[in-house]
């Protein structure tokens, strides 16, 4: 059963917690891919300067760069029964792709190291309402939270 680590443009580092996901570590031959998808780049309004920056960052990463449509390439790589592991994001297009993949495959979305702990979603109308709630946690190493990932 194939395990595919889907590396996207919001998680270009080899020590992102997704590389430590149990599914990835226990899979002897997982494959990490970054998909060069012009439709996605266009939708995000990314220009040449940012694309060069992304490609250059990928040169240092343990990942294959493959050109094509993200969802199609991932479905092809994962086969019928593979697992796809990726990094959490708030990007709208990526979130929609994840929802689509979730209907056909086992998808595991791994959050990055947390920045601050919040008891409940704060009022997001204004920054300072958020900051007043987040500050005491944000001002501590690891947000004052137990470290659940390996450093």
């Amino acid at each position: 059963m194939a395990t595919i680590l889907w590396v996207h443009d919001g998680a270009l580092r080899a020590d992102h917690p997704m590389f430590d996901a149990e599914t990835v570590k226990s899979s002897r031959d997982y494959k990490a891919v970054f998909i060069w998808d012009n439709d996605y780049f266009n939708k995000a309004e990314m220009g040449l300067k940012q694309l060069v920056f992304i490609y250059e960052a990928l040169l240092d990463m343990p990942v294959d760069i493959v050109q094509g449509s993200m969802v199609e390439v991932l479905r092809q790589c994962a086969g019928t029964d593979g697992t796809i592991v990726t990094a959490a994001t708030s990007d709208i297009t990526l979130t929609q792709m994840m929802a689509a993949l979730n209907t056909s495959h086992r998808l595991q979305v791994v959050a990055d190291e947390p920045f601050a702990h919040l008891d409940k979603t704060p009022d997001l109308r204004r920054f300072f309402r958020y900051w007043n709630k987040a500050k005491s946690s944000a001002m501590q190493h690891h947000g004052g939270m137990p470290i659940l990932w390996t450093e």
Binding site: M46, L59, V66, T95, D112, T121
Partner: protein, 264 residues
């Protein structure tokens, strides 16, 4: 499925390769800012939270230059925050920097909960105008960096050649586009996304809404005196070359938002 190459004779060969892969991408040349681990390490090494707190509003202040690395997850907010805390004797000396990191986190949370605000007004404009009063398209002279307002043209040139702008310069440019030229924030936001190497729809578009007043209580404006205070020699702030900006806040408010005055 073809695997694309990861080794190139030199940086220009990499740039040519990306151009061939994505010929539709806006811009002619790469940014001089390299996405290498060495460049990231240099910026993390230079991190000085206390100096940052004192000087971050100045164009030549000790800002981190980490945004393209943070935007692409090459370093996490947690890692930068932990380092900032390690570098200060008193926690409070790191507060300003950590608060700015929190702005990034905040915009990501806003996008997660309100994805429609990325391209739609979150609130009405508080300028006395309605969104119908703003132009849909970015005027050509702005795209070309030939507005005739020297400081603004310098900022646009910096954006289109380096792909990076100090926060204050982003604010000036956004305010000029929306309030001086009465152009919809969406058109300006798209232009910046096309050129920034740290382009991020959450931080960028929601900041544009903040400047426009569709995500804040009032529009953000500036004047030449403010630019002269913060910009030093980084851009041309000579009065004779920037007449549209050279006035008091009172005069500019009356000029830019005449209907707001009538309403008051």
């Amino acid at each position: 499925m073809d695997i694309l190459p990861k080794s190139f004779a030199d940086r220009q060969a990499l740039v040519d390769h990306v151009k061939a892969l994505s010929p539709q991408a806006k811009g002619d040349a790469a940014s001089p800012i390299e996405a290498t681990q060495a460049n990231l390490a240099k910026r993390l090494d230079a991190l000085d939270p206390a100096a940052y707190g004192r000087s971050r509003n100045f164009i030549n202040g000790k800002v981190t230059g980490l945004s393209p690395f943070i935007r692409h997850g090459m370093v996490s907010l947690n890692q930068v925050r932990n380092l900032a805390l390690d570098r200060v004797a008193r926690k409070s000396d790191a507060e300003k920097l950590i608060q700015e990191l929190a702005w990034r986190e905040f915009w990501q949370l806003v996008r997660r909960d309100h994805p429609d605000w990325i391209w739609r007004d979150a609130e009405p404009y508080k300028t006395g105008f309605s969104s119908r009063d703003y132009a849909d398209a970015l005027p050509q002279d702005i795209a070309a960096g030939q507005t005739g307002v020297a400081a603004i043209d310098d900022i646009i040139a910096m954006l289109t050649t380096t792909g990076y702008l100090h926060n204050h310069l982003r604010m000036y440019l956004a305010s000029y586009v929306v309030h001086w030229r009465r152009v919809k924030w969406q058109a300006g936001a798209r232009f910046m996304l096309n050129h920034l190497i740290d382009a991020d729809a959450a931080s960028n578009n929601l900041s544009w809404q903040w400047i426009a007043s569709t995500y804040s209580q009032k529009p953000y404006i500036f004047n030449l005196e403010n630019m002269q205070k913060y910009c030093g020699d980084a851009i041309n702030t000579q009065a004779q070359d920037n007449q549209a900006l050279d006035a008091s806040y009172e005069v500019l408010t009356a000029r830019l938002f005449p209907q707001q005055r009538e309403m008051a």
